[in-house]
């Protein structure tokens, strides 16, 4: 394809075939936001059901489906894709690269996620969603009637493949594509933490892949790994799930930590305190993340030695996390703190997350965990870390990077309303849940009986959830009313890192000339110690770009077709589906595609216009 042809494409076709990391990033954000609203809706429905004792807003079975889909959607289809959105858009810009290492695979990863998510949600319309919790413990899941869990298994398998591809892509991008001078220890912390999160993806997701494969073979083809009568063992699933599942929660939180590191440093106008300690702590968290999964299984009967070891290992994570918390506080110390909405979310994160973190350490106390486990205390813990950590990080990143991504700034007044309502709603919803748990309310209950002292707190909790909904709608309003806010969008916050050196909208090649990095916080360094412009590391030349392609969509679609074939055991359909996927793979591998070049003249033209 030539440069001219690449310029003149139909918009929809362009987005379907794009391999541009920025467009893919935006698509991840859009997809993730959609599923976040969906998962939020499911949460609200659950909260309404729990508003009064013995309420019959939804049936017990529906409730189980709601809670399963809420957890699954939020973790796999909302939080991760939203983070992937930022990682996709921002990492190449932060390291001074023109694209990711594997643009094709990047697109494939996105479409796998999207189709996997859609497949999972199709289950609502064809006889019932999965109903065994997001953890899908066997044998409840392996024997669950209907097709709900088949959708769970295959939807997650497809989406999970996309995530794994994405993880590898980020790893190689960060290792191989950094601009000259950008050593590992000059990388912005968002890139660093995304790097570690990608490592976790690489080693955690295969365990899930196998878990899902086994569950699929058990459900669809009568395998007997989990069937006790055939010599099977049900604990194996739990281990496989949590060997994935615990690292997964750090996959979520680490990139969010990265966002906070950028935002807090930017709005305190200070260099991140203890940069190398931060990097080191991130690595330690990643490492320890693999040693603690069995803290979800204290009550399952592994024995006291195992429980004790996993309890102590889990507690150890508080140390590197604490290092990070105090480094952030010291970053603020002596700074000039600006209370923008992005920073409000980062500042709101600190106390909220610490509250969630310390209840995590309480949960890690194995002997006490026998009381906490599978109660609302756990629900409170993980919403504190996930919402107070991950979701706040996402909102912070949204307000921070929105100008760069979309060319306009979000309205600060509305943004602040949104923040306060969300913060209050969030604490209202989940703070009381600690007590609900300790007072005897198990989690995953479709309702509760009156007269057990659980009524008023459940009611309060639901009110909080309503408040969060109002806040969320305010965010949507904010996004739509802000579109005119187009002044100074290239570097609105006096940014420190390379993404702010690009013009907005960012040209498809990101950097006309690859920048030369001379310090941590490269842009800040040039602004306050140099002439305010990045030095170029190369002369102005033609820029090589990859071609767009529809194959990722085709490959993902093929897998969805195959999944339907598997779910309903229509073997010809399965074969057709795989044939489509492997056919597209075949085409991809025999048709060499060397991309095209953007001529220097066009780059110069862009420069003058921008």
């Amino acid at each position: 394809m030539s440069y001219e042809k690449a310029q003149s494409k139909n918009v929809i076709w362009d987005w379907l075939t794009t391999v541009d990391h920025k467009k893919i990033g935006i698509m991840y954000l859009a997809g993730g936001a959609f599923f976040f609203a969906l998962g939020g809706l499911e949460a609200i429905l659950m909260r309404i059901q729990l508003m009064f004792p013995e309420f019959t807003f939804v049936q017990a079975q529906t409730f189980n489906e709601l809670l399963t889909m809420h957890g699954t959607t939020m973790i796999f289809l909302a939080a991760m894709p939203l983070l992937f959105g930022f990682m996709n858009f921002i990492i190449p810009l932060q390291i001074g690269a023109r694209d990711v290492a594997f643009p094709f695979l990047n697109a494939l990863g996105f479409w796998l996620f999207l189709f996997g998510g859609i497949l999972l949600n199709v289950s609502w319309f064809v006889g019932g969603a999965p109903d065994a919790g997001w953890t899908a413990y066997v044998p409840l899941s392996s024997e669950s009637p209907g097709h709900g869990l088949d959708y769970y298994v295959l939807g997650l398998q497809i989406g999970g493949a996309g995530t794994l591809i994405g993880g590898i892509n980020f790893l190689v991008t960060i290792i191989n594509m950094r601009a000259p001078g950008m050593s590992m220890m000059r990388m912005p912390l968002f890139t660093w933490s995304s790097f570690v999160a990608s490592m976790l993806i690489l080693f955690a997701f295969p365990a899930l892949t196998i878990g899902l494969l086994l569950l699929m073979l058990e459900r669809l083809f009568g395998a007997t790994y989990f069937a006790v009568d055939f010599g099977g063992n049900v604990i194996i699933w739990q281990h496989l799930f949590w060997i994935f599942g615990h690292p997964e929660v750090y996959i979520l939180i680490l990139p969010a930590f990265g966002i906070f590191s950028e935002v807090l440093a930017t709005f305190a106008k200070k260099r991140l305190f203890g940069y190398s300690a931060m990097v080191f702590a991130t690595l330690i968290i990643g490492f320890l993340g693999f040693m603690v999964w069995a803290h979800h299984m204290f009550t399952v009967g592994m024995g006291p030695v195992a429980n004790a070891i996993f309890a102590v290992a889990t507690m150890a994570i508080a140390v590197p996390t604490g290092i990070k918390i105090f480094n952030w506080l010291l970053t603020l110390w002596g700074g000039r703190i600006q209370f923008t909405t992005a920073n409000l979310f980062a500042l709101g994160f600190l106390p909220s997350f610490v509250m969630g973190g310390v209840t995590g350490v309480m949960l890690a106390t194995s002997a006490a965990n026998y009381q906490f486990h599978d109660t609302y205390f756990v629900v409170a813990h993980f919403h504190y870390v996930i919402i107070g950590g991950v979701v706040f990080g996402l909102f912070s990143g949204t307000f921070y990077w929105w100008p760069k991504m979309f060319g306009y700034r979000l309205n600060e007044t509305l943004g602040k309303w949104f923040f306060w309502l969300f913060l209050i709603g969030f604490h209202l919803t989940f703070f009381v849940q600690h007590f609900l748990g300790l007072m005897g309310m198990p989690r995953r209950v479709a309702s509760y009986l009156p007269g057990q002292g659980l009524d008023s707190m459940n009611f309060i909790s639901t009110m909080g959830a309503f408040l969060m909904t109002v806040a969320f709608i305010l965010l949507l309003v904010c996004i739509f009313v802000s579109t005119k806010n187009r002044t100074n969008v290239a570097d609105p916050w006096d940014g420190r890192t390379l993404e702010w050196t690009t013009p907005t909208p960012v040209p498809e090649y990101n950097f006309a000339q690859t920048p030369l990095v001379r310090e941590l916080d490269a842009y800040w360094h040039e602004k306050y110690e140099g002439d305010g412009k990045m030095k170029a590391a190369e002369p102005l030349e033609d820029i090589h770009m990859p071609n767009g392609t529809i194959l990722p969509v085709v490959m993902s679609l093929g897998l969805v077709v195959a999944a339907f074939g598997l779910i309903y055991l229509v073997h010809p359909l399965t074969i057709v589906g795989f044939a489509i996927t492997f056919g597209a793979m075949f085409v991809r591998s025999i048709k060499e595609d060397h991309g095209y070049h953007i001529p220097v003249e066009a780059i110069k033209r862009d420069k003058e216009e921008g």
Partner: protein, 206 residues
């Protein structure tokens, strides 16, 4: 395809698979993928080891496994690893014919291995070990079958490469492709080392 003239003619670099950025990306990315595959197979091995006593009324390892068959299969796969090493050495020499020839040898050995494996499964099935017979059966077929699927995929992948590039000569594009395919092939052999040790040898001897 290319809307520009190729001006530079390329001379053979010492590591053609890593001479371009694309090549280096592919090389690294593929290795990382293998790192993930390690955990994938680790999970399968763990499942198998956890369930291997769950034979219920079906046949167990010592009723089924023959060392001679496994030994032959092992030798075949080991040799195919060597042929693919020779293929890479020839690639670095610029001897494209040699590369193709050794890769074909690898494919043939891979096919032979698969043949034995199919025969083996067929035999076990007739000895009463169905996929759903027992937890041992399910986990055994899943572990060894996943490895077999890798072999099958490797064979098809290399074959496609060999046919697609039968006449092109060594280029900066296909060198990394051959190289990663060879890495994949070695990895299959690495997994097999554990399979023959943990599944077959321990199944009979432990």
């Amino acid at each position: 395809m290319a809307d520009h003239q190729a001006v530079e003619q390329h001379t053979l670099p010492p590591n053609p698979e890593k001479a371009t950025l694309e090549g280096r990306n592919k090389y690294l990315g593929f290795w990382f993928f293998l790192g993930g595959e390690t955990v994938l197979f680790g999970s399968l091995f763990g499942t198998y080891l956890g369930l291997r006593d769950g034979v219920v009324d079906g046949p167990g390892p010592s009723d089924l496994f023959h060392l001679d068959l496994v030994f032959i299969m092992t030798m075949i796969l080991l040799t195919s690893s060597l042929t693919s090493v020779f293929a890479v050495i020839n690639m670095k020499r610029g001897n494209y014919k040699g590369l193709l020839m050794w890769m074909w040898a690898t494919v043939l050995l891979g096919v032979a291995f698969l043949g034995f494996e199919i025969y083996e499964f067929y035999e076990y099935y007739h000895l009463g070990l169905g996929f759903t017979t027992s937890a041992f059966a399910s986990s055994f077929y899943t572990l060894v079958g996943t490895h077999g699927a890798h072999v099958a995929f490797g064979v098809s992948w290399i074959t496609v490469l060999l046919i697609r590039y039968r006449k092109s000569g060594l280029t900066l594009t296909n060198a990394p492709k051959f190289y990663t395919a060879v890495l994949y092939w070695h990895f299959i052999d690495v997994v097999w080392v554990f399979i023959f040790t943990v599944v077959y040898l321990l199944g009979i001897g432990g």
